[in-house]
Amino acid sequence: MRKTILLLALGLGAGSATLAQKSATESIEEYRAMLADGNPADLFEAKGEALWKQARGPKNASVERCDLGKGPGVVKGAFVELPRYFADTGKVQDLESRLVTCMETLQGFDGKAIAQTPFNQGEQNNVTALATWVAAESKGMKFNLPQSHTQERVAYEVGKRLFFMRGGPHDFSCASCHGEEGKRIRLQDLPVLTKNPGNGVGFAAWPAYRVSNGQMWSMQQRLNDCYRQQRFPYPIFGSDALTALSTYLGVNAQGAVSAVPTIKR
């Protein structure tokens, strides 16, 4: 009899532990839902929209005629088809690097100088704001990255290898955290990025506003910080490596609905 009670007590203990854990993730979800109502990403979106039309830079021109893959000036639906191959630059480009190209060709900015500017400083702020607005214009649309050009397929393959490439002092790869179900960092559930992780998750969630530091993060910065967490040297902004990785994630997310801009911890 005593044994039964003991077992029962143990059972109860284990039961309440899992219950408490579940409610922790649930309350985080609740917290996010509350924040989502006043997502400060809206501010960056508004800023990006104004920047799109504003005449700036050495040429005192706007980026309104920027070709994001669907023709000059077409914004709606462009985000869910990026990265893609651009004939004028002869490269596969993601949203941020394409915006820098437009700032270079249309406005006369120095693209290299922008790429070397740290995130959340100077012109990088404007690139992120523009990216936020452009991405938000495709909210609710499904990812459908083109894979018809050879370079696009090459980018996917390179991205895949980068995703599984282990290295650094921790011998980590992207796949160490994002390759199987049920992984998390502290209370952050990590999406599996080798397949479509679902609507508004992973690739379909960035640019996002980070509540903890009050910063708007583009996908470039998200990937950059993943590399920092792996204790890897960070790839350069707009580099082929990051574009390839984005292509891999984007193609895997085929059919996922974009929820951008989202709000994160």
């Binding site: 109502d37 006043g38 400060p40 501010l43 508004a46 800023k47 009050g214």
Partner: protein, 103 residues
């Protein structure tokens, strides 16, 4: 000059719910930069809300309010078409006023 606010005001029954997002650094004055020097405080100190030009709420804010703050409140008796004005002042003397119409 400061970036614009985002104001949404929605009538429900005999009142209206106003939601405001302000763009501000809200530096607390407690943080230090990479060189170890204190980053001076820079935050909103006064917030005023008006309903058709009449002040309905004033607030004094301090350094504990977050960056890019979100403010939500209800105005009794406000209906669709009414004008809602929000203004803030910060400790550097900068200010911003934006308006929205209740929908």
């Amino acid at each position: 000059m400061a970036d614009p606010m985002r104001i949404r005001a929605q009538a429900s029954g005999s009142s209206a719910v106003v939601r405001v997002l302000m763009s501000h650094e809200m530096e607390s004055g407690q943080r230090k930069d990479a060189a170890g020097k204190t980053i001076p405080a820079w935050h909103i100190t006064d917030v005023t809300a008006t309903h058709n030009g009449k002040t309905v709420m004033t607030a004094e804010w301090g350094p504990a309010v977050s960056k890019n703050p979100f403010l939500q409140f209800t105005i009794k008796g406000a209906k669709a078409g009414d004008k809602i004005g929000i203004s803030w002042k910060d400790n550097k003397g900068d200010s911003r006023t934006d308006e929205a119409v209740v929908s």
